[in-house]
């Protein structure tokens, strides 16, 4: 009997997903979807004893695997993914979809198992499993999501392959030690870079980010919410584990925080706006990992935790609108606060959280990352992140709720969101408030952080500074709107770096294919003629009527025998001489 506590809790969630895939009864699937994350969280709680727990070790082909590792870093992600899985399941209660239920469970389980695995091979396995299980959620978006799903899958699998390649190189250089731990870039050479790129793809590094804005807005309503919870945060975990304090990440992270601002401001599809804002949020985390100080890492962990909650809340509220209205285009929405008041309030809480209003979630954690940048005297990154913070306010804090619920009235009168969506959003909203509550609330967050901290976020100067920043952003928005300088909500497609492979690359592929077909026809004719001729010659030689196989009279073999004897004698003569 193997000890059940030796088993990675994520595997139980994956198992629940497999059962759900075979389960025709909808309510049972829903029960699994809600119950499995709770069970996993309970198991993590049972196993973890505030020191590093290693379990589930065995060796395959000489590789020592540690399939379960719960320490002060991974436990945060473990709880977080369980929580997100639970909220997502509540949010998806109304949807009777076999595929969503099972793939969401497998995806959630793979993410949990991935962050809790202690060696490169298990990590790779779950890294790929998250990719493969989640692509079904993209495809749930309908026929127009098919190509995006394929692109998503290709890029995710590429990331996994790079991860494996890097891990093999890294383990090889380390004398066969497959433990998933610190990598860095100084001493590891190519292996470190390959691993960084592999994680960078999943984390949405600039120029590697396009899959996110490509696939997330095309997935189904619940699919987008689920997708946004795990993949990128999984990658952030891997970065935090393997590359803390790697200088280049500061700059990568800062660029990540800034560039999506411009795209987000002009983008019309609100789910894509949120995908850009997701990218921007990830930038803060990457930069924090790059700084790597105690304060920064605490900030990153806290930021990841609250980010999943408020980003999920925003995606959920836009999803609720889309569920009732049928679209998430800014140009077709507006004035919905009349018909969806609860959703409006909840969305505003999410928007305030992402913009880091005092008393709302990101206020504490973003401040810690910025403070870490100041402590490290990184003035340029600090400025960039400051600009990005204002930008977040601009596009996520104002644009999303403004164009959805206020702005010009679209005339749509719809029902309030279903109760389960409201319930899921409410849980997230309450958490957003609780985790930033100045009187003891953020201590809960602190207790999850890997290092002891006594950072005081609610100081006068900090609160005032933050409010100044936010109101300046609101003021700018209003001024721009007043003078009609703010880009109006228009149906248009924003050209991003993905045009490289969606347009240029595709056209080149199509052209090459056409040329290849033409060339291939020529080549094929020549090749056919050549193989036919070789085949005919072989057949002529070896078929029963052929010269090489015809029934020989005994004379010829007798001569052959004599000839062979002569050969052997000559060879023996020479060899002995």
């Amino acid at each position: 009997m193997i000890d059940l506590l030796q088993i990675n809790p994520g595997l139980w969630v994956i198992l629940a997903g497999v059962i759900a895939a075979l389960m025709p009864v909808g309510p049972v699937r829903k029960a699994l979807a809600i119950g499995a994350p709770i069970l996993a969280a309970f198991l993590i709680f049972t196993i973890y004893d505030s020191t590093e727990v290693l379990a589930g070790q065995f060796s395959v082909l000489g590789v020592e695997l540690t399939t379960l590792r719960i320490d002060n870093l991974s436990v945060v992600w473990g709880y977080l993914f369980c929580l997100a899985g639970f909220i997502n399941a509540v949010y998806a209660l109304h949807e009777d979809s076999w595929i969503t239920d099972s793939s969401a469970l497998v995806y959630t389980g793979a993410a949990i198992a991935g962050v809790l695995s202690g060696d490169w091979l298990s990590l790779f396995l779950f890294w790929e499993l998250t990719a493969i299980s989640s692509v079904f959620l993209v495809w749930q978006g309908g026929a127009h999501a098919y190509a995006a799903g394929i692109r998503y899958l290709v890029i995710q699998v590429l990331s996994g392959v790079l991860l494996l390649a890097g891990a093999v190189m890294f383990a090889g250089a380390n004398g066969g030690d497959w433990t998933f731990g610190y990598v860095g870039l100084e001493t590891t050479g190519a292996a470190g870079w390959v691993l960084l790129i592999a994680m960078g793809i999943k984390a949405g590094f600039p120029m590697l980010h396009m899959w996110m804005q490509d696939a997330y807005p095309k997935a189904s309503i619940t699919g987008t919410v689920i997708l946004a919870s795990f993949t990128t945060k999984f990658a952030i975990y891997a970065l935090a584990r393997a590359f803390p304090g790697t200088d280049i990440l500061i700059w990568i992270g800062c660029i990540m925080t800034c560039f999506p601002v411009f795209f987000a401001v002009i983008e019309n599809d609100l789910r894509r706006v949120l995908a850009y804002s997701l990218n921007n949020q990830l930038g803060f985390m990457v930069a924090g990992i790059g700084i790597g100080s105690t304060m920064a890492m605490n900030g990153v962990v806290g930021q990841v935790f609250v980010h999943v909650i408020f980003k999920g809340l925003l995606f959920m509220s836009i999803g609720a609108v889309m569920y009732r209205v049928g679209t998430a285009k800014a140009s077709e929405l507006g004035g919905l606060f009349r018909s969806m008041p609860y959703t409006t309030v909840l969305c505003l809480i999410g928007a305030g959280s992402i913009a880091a209003f005092p008393l709302l979630a990101a206020f504490v954690t973003k401040a810690m990352i910025l403070q870490a940048a100041i402590d490290a005297k990184l003035w340029i990154p600090f400025t960039m992140m400051l600009f990005a913070s204002a930008g977040v306010m601009e596009h996520s804090g104002i644009k999303v709720p403004h164009f959805t619920f206020f702005a010009h009235d679209s005339g749509r009168r719809v029902k309030e969101a279903p109760w389960n969506m409201l319930a899921a959003m409410s849980i997230a909203a309450v958490l957003c408030i609780v985790l930033a509550w100045p009187w003891g609330g953020y201590d809960i967050l602190y207790s999850l952080m890997p290092y002891e901290t006594d950072y005081k976020p609610y100081t006068w100067d900090h609160v005032v500074f933050q409010l100044q920043l936010l109101f300046a952003a609101i003021f700018a928005f209003n001024v721009l709107k007043r003078f009609k300088l703010y880009p109006a909500e228009r149906r248009a497609e924003v050209v991003d770096a993905d045009v490289l492979y969606r347009r240029v690359g595709k056209n080149m592929a199509v052209w090459t294919d056409a040329m290849w077909t033409r060339l291939g026809a020529r080549l094929k004719r020549g090749r056919d003629r050549a193989t036919a001729s070789v085949g005919r010659k072989l057949s002529q030689a070896f078929s029963p009527a052929g010269r090489m196989s015809e029934a020989a009279p005994s004379g010829l073999p007798a001569i052959l025998t004599a000839g062979l004897l002569a050969v052997v004698l000559v060879v023996a003569y020479i060899a002995a001489a």
Binding site: M548, P557, A558, V568
Partner: protein
Amino acid sequence: MSSWFISHGAAFIVILPLLMAVITALLPAVRRLAWFTALIVAVLVALVAFIVLQTQIDVGAFIYRMGGWEPPHGISLAIDAVNAPIALLIAAMAVFTLIYAEPAVDSEVQRKKRAPFYAAFLLAVAGLIGMVVTGDAFNVFVFLEVSSISTYTLVAMGANRDRRALSAAFNYLILGSIGATFFVIGIGFLYAETGTLNMADMQGILANLDGGSRAAQVGFGFVLVGLGLKLAMFPLHTWLPGAYAYSPTVVTAFLASTATKAALYLLYRFMFTVFDPSFDYVAVTLTYVVTGLAVIGMIFASLQALFQTDARRTLAYSSVAQVGYMLLGIGLISTLGLVGSYLHLINHAVVKGGLFLSLGAMWYRFGITRISDMAGLAKTMPITTAAFTVLAFSLIGVPFTAGFVSKVALAEAALERGWYWAVAVIMIASILALLYMGRMMMVAYFSPPPASAMGEDGRVVRREAPLLMLLPMVGLAVTSVLIGVRGNVYLAEVSENAARVLLPGGGL
């Protein structure tokens, strides 16, 4: 009783079939009497051969003195780790094929020739076992001729089925005699050089002479070429396809799995324990001539097999290619090479015997000889086709079958010597085997059965082979899988022991 077998078993397994052959020949043509006698004899021989093998494993190599005459003057039977398993292999294959023989011979051989047929079969068994167990070089020649002459007769008895058996038998007779003559000439030279016919004695004297004079080298050449002809070494294999294609099924299966194998055993015996690879001329000839011919034969004969229309000829050419594998193992002159060669010898005996038996069952029911006629056999004869498929996989070298074990062993041996090209050749020949065996299986599985195989209601009528035919086929198929799954435990040890006896020094 069993102690008597332990002390006299080595002689018993030669003498019993020899004597019983005479009695069987005189038996009246009562339907099953001759068959039953032969089968009982074969079972007894197999049991005693097993006892002999066990004795050999328990006490090590031992010598049986015929009539109490001490070697080197008297004739001795020398049992060691090399020949004891092969003697058991021959006896066991005789049992398998004789079980099968009852229905097969009934349909293939004229009634009045049935008793002589079984007599000749027992003679062949006696000759083959005799040439394997004997320790006397001239005795080898005598038993070689006993087995060969009885085999010519057996091949010719296929004339009832296909008249071409007569010309095939004649061809085989001429070439086989040339081979035997070369061999005996070689023995003559060796006798002139060493003054003895006892092989152990010869070995000692040749080693003292450091390989001996030109006479020993000429003797070496004659022995090698003579045995090469007997074991169908390319390009001396031309007698084999005809003989295998037109003789009765039982004979083909038995010859394919034992006759060339016994000759190959003699090659091991002479190349490694009479001569020695430490003599330059032996090493050079094995490395360049034998290996070269082995490699060319593997590819060439596989191509020949690929383009045959007759199923049995395909398998016959495949046998020549497989002999190439075994010769490659010899040419490596290393313990690993001999292990691979020896393993492949045993595996190929099991596999090729079983394949010929399956083809014979197909002929028995539907008169099939051509590959194109095998259409729909998977539906009409499912068990036979299943056995055929398993054995074909084994011949190709699919994992978990016998062929895989020995091909991997050979490839490892080639790698040990750094002969990467030899690994490539093994791969190519295996791919060719996949093609020529796959061709048959494609037809058997994917072509619809002919209209004549359909019943009145338009459904396929199953016409499975009789039980006595199915048992040995399925038994051999299961054996090949068992070797593939567990062969690394028992057979590998047998092969390693044999290789250690042949090459005590571990080779080059």
